[in-house]
Amino acid sequence: MTATPDPRLRRRDKLTSDTRAAYAFMAPALIGFTVFVVYPLIRSAYFALTRYNGLTAPVFVGLGNFRRMFTTDPSFWPSVRATLLLVVLYVPLSLAIGLALAVFCNRRMRGVRVLRTLVYLPVVLPVVATITLWKFVFNPQVGLANQVLTWLHLPTSEWLSGEGSAMPSIVIVMLWSVGSTMIIFLAALQAVPTELYEAARIDGAGSRTMFFRITLPLISPIMVLQVVLQLVTALQTFNQPKILSPDGLGGPGFSTRVLMLSIYNNGFPTLGRVADFGYASAQVWVLFLVIVVVIAATARFSSVWTYSDHVS
């Protein structure tokens, strides 16, 4: 992955035709990097310290936005709670189900390719299309979800319109697309050398031992990568709560108003309210810092979790 030092690359080659060509080829990406990465990063840090409605000039308020967030805003802590609930429900479930499905699909059976395709199918469909489909599935009177529960003689639920059941319903919608996790685990499983299983089988190992002693250690680097990816995805969830909540604001109550939705509601309000760019930017930074901490912590501890082969 890392570029090896090239003997031909010497100081006096500066501004050779290669250098000029390289910067010409990279020019669009460099402009894009400046305008779409560097500039917003600096600018949003500044916005976070101001009172700013997007119309009149920003007024510097120091940490005022953060004080408001942590002390007076009645919706901030509920939105943190909703975000954490989403993460706690979604991340472990998607990893466990994704891995279970990958193990299940990693066998030579007739029809296993069809099964893989079907599991992957929801990932391919447009997000908005699947979310709106599920909105109707969860309709308490005429939706499929309650109908299936009735067939199975199980109690029905109010799904998205109940404060307690709204977030679990959203997690179900997100878990329907577990195929993307499954496919990545499947690729990792298929990279495990089969000789290891054969050797273990000769030594009399059962399938459970093989899974915990061979499979899991060997796919642990991918596991860590998946944990990071899923955490970052879950923390930034927006589409599902936005479209599925009955009021579009993350209701009922604050039950599904995750941080991303709170940022959107403050920054791009509907119904004639004035935008609060300063406050929304402060929330962006809270979310951003959480993401940075999560990535750093996972990277820090990944050496403990992952197996590495010191011999070869």
Partner: protein, 296 residues
């Protein structure tokens, strides 16, 4: 459910009873998984074929009594589907072209040209892959508003033409690294410049790479909801994602014509489905590359 990965074994003539039980339980679970994945889609198809009153029948029935194929005409008409479809096609077409082209160019420079700073820029682009998009939304909204691009398609298209997605630059570079260097040396000897080498030598060789990228870019743009939602005020400029979501929330108050909506929703799903089935090989390859990226 058993957890042992199947180890390819010798041909298996008559099944021993234990193995037969295992096979049977595998198929039972497989059937269960498939129905969870497929049932909502099939149910959607039956709604799209039902009449208005049948949708609200309590208790609901799985299959329609009579088939209303005209829903596939009336539904799209009722929610301005053709207009939205055209918008989506233009936005997606332009951003895919730009995203793939400029990412390939940057990847070419990073992988095949020797110049001071090429490591630095590689790390810069890889680093910006880690940056969550949420950081940019407010300053960028303000910027686009200030230069008069609010309520136009430009904020959805122009970023793609400026290297758009750092992941694509990374993928392009990785692929270019695998192309033998003798090829461009030969082209150089023949007197070709970098532009010539890029277009006539590299692009044909790297076809699998940019097809994969184009598919990913298509998916991202076709599915994008937040950006068009932020930047597009006028409903006649909306792409399908915003349009379809908005019709559902409009319906929430009144009696929704779910049968018409689901018919249109199925049409919205068709292009990505078609791409998936035609290009399945590339899809899996692209994702598998992620799965093995850290493995020894």
């Amino acid at each position: 459910m058993t957890t042992s990965p199947d180890v390819p074994s010798a041909p298996r003539p008559p099944l021993p009873p234990r193995k037969a039980v295992r096979t049977a339980s595998w198929y039972t679970v497989a059937l269960l998984i498939s129905s969870v994945m497929v049932l909502p889609i099939l149910w959607m198809l039956t709604i799209a074929l039902k009449g208005h009153s049948a949708v609200f029948q309590v208790p609901p029935r799985l299959l329609p009594d009579e088939f209303h194929f005209e829903n596939f005409i009336d539904g799209p008409k009722a929610i301005h589907f053709p207009r939205l479809l055209l918008n989506s096609l233009v936005i997606t077409g332009l951003s895919v072209t730009g995203g793939v082209m400029t990412s390939m160019m940057a990847g070419y420079a990073l992988a095949r040209l020797r110049f001071p700073g090429r490591r630095l820029w590689f790390y810069v682009f890889v680093g910006s892959m880690m940056l969550p998009p949420v950081v940019g939304i407010i300053p960028l909204f303000q910027l686009f508003k200030d230069i008069g691009w609010y309520d136009t398609w430009l904020p959805l298209i122009v970023p793609a033409w400026l290297g758009g997605n750092p992941l694509f630059i990374f993928l392009a570079r990785q692929y270019f690294l695998s192309v033998p260097y003798s090829i461009d040396e030969a082209a150089k000897v023949d007197g070709a410049g970098h532009v010539r080498i890029f277009f006539s030598v590299m692009l044909p060789i790297t076809r699998p790479a940019w097809i994969t990228m184009a598919i990913l870019a298509f998916q991202l743009s076709w599915n994008d909801y937040l950006n068009p939602l932020i930047y597009l005020y006028s409903s006649e400029k909306w792409p399908l994602s915003v349009g379809m979501a908005s019709f559902v929330s409009q319906f929430a108050g009144q009696t929704p014509d779910w049968n018409l909506y689901m018919a249109a929703n199925l049409l919205y799903m068709l292009p990505p489905l078609a791409v998936f089935f035609v290009a399945q090989r590339y899809f899996i390859q692209g994702l598998s590359a992620l799965g093995t990226v850290n493995q020894r």
